[in-house]
Symmetry: C2
Subunit: 108 residues, 2 copies
């Protein structure tokens, strides 16, 4: 198959309100997914970069979590502004955004 | 973060019965996810390999779809027996299973 140059995984998993784990879904990650689809289209990257929603990516306390493959780069606490930066720096130019990288904690 | 050596993405997206696109979910992909979690634990690979469920991976007609990152290897029409082979060959030994690779079609 013609593989995507990059695949962006956006966790949209939701847990009931009050669940101690929290979730990316309750931190508006669905809106990040929608925003990213728009950004990729706008910048003509949608033929090179695939974006997919996922269930739990196992870093619930650090959400919203976004992973970029095949770079195996994981981002934590992504905001809409961060996502624009990820799109510009990483997805368009191949340079991961160091300040947004997931801290050194094991997956849950 | 201590990254997974490999991340396996299992599409469990469902569409209503009769939808012309079909879906991985209606082809028992949730059972593949459960099986894979069991296989990884049984073989002591669960600390190295992360498995995640996803929404649509954009190859609906070729489901169930399983992708292995960061290898950017995509499998189509995966059965429970195929999954055992992927686990043994690819996830444990790093050798993708050629006969199961997604054919050369664009993503949807």
């Amino acid at each position: 198959m013609p593989k995507p140059e990059r695949q962006v995984l956006v966790c949209v998993n939701s847990r009931p309100p009050g669940n101690p784990k929290g979730s990316c879904g309750e931190k508006a990650s669905q809106a990040l997914f929608d925003q990213l689809k728009g950004l990729l289209k706008e910048r003509g990257l949608d033929g090179r970069v695939m974006v997919n929603r996922t269930y739990c990516l196992k870093h619930c306390s650090r959400g919203p979590v976004v992973a970029v493959q095949p770079d195996n780069v994981w981002y934590a606490g992504v905001t809409p502004a961060d996502l624009v930066e990820i799109c510009t720096m990483h997805l368009a130019e191949g340079r991961p955004v160091a300040r947004l990288l997931m801290p050194d904690i094991p997956w849950e």
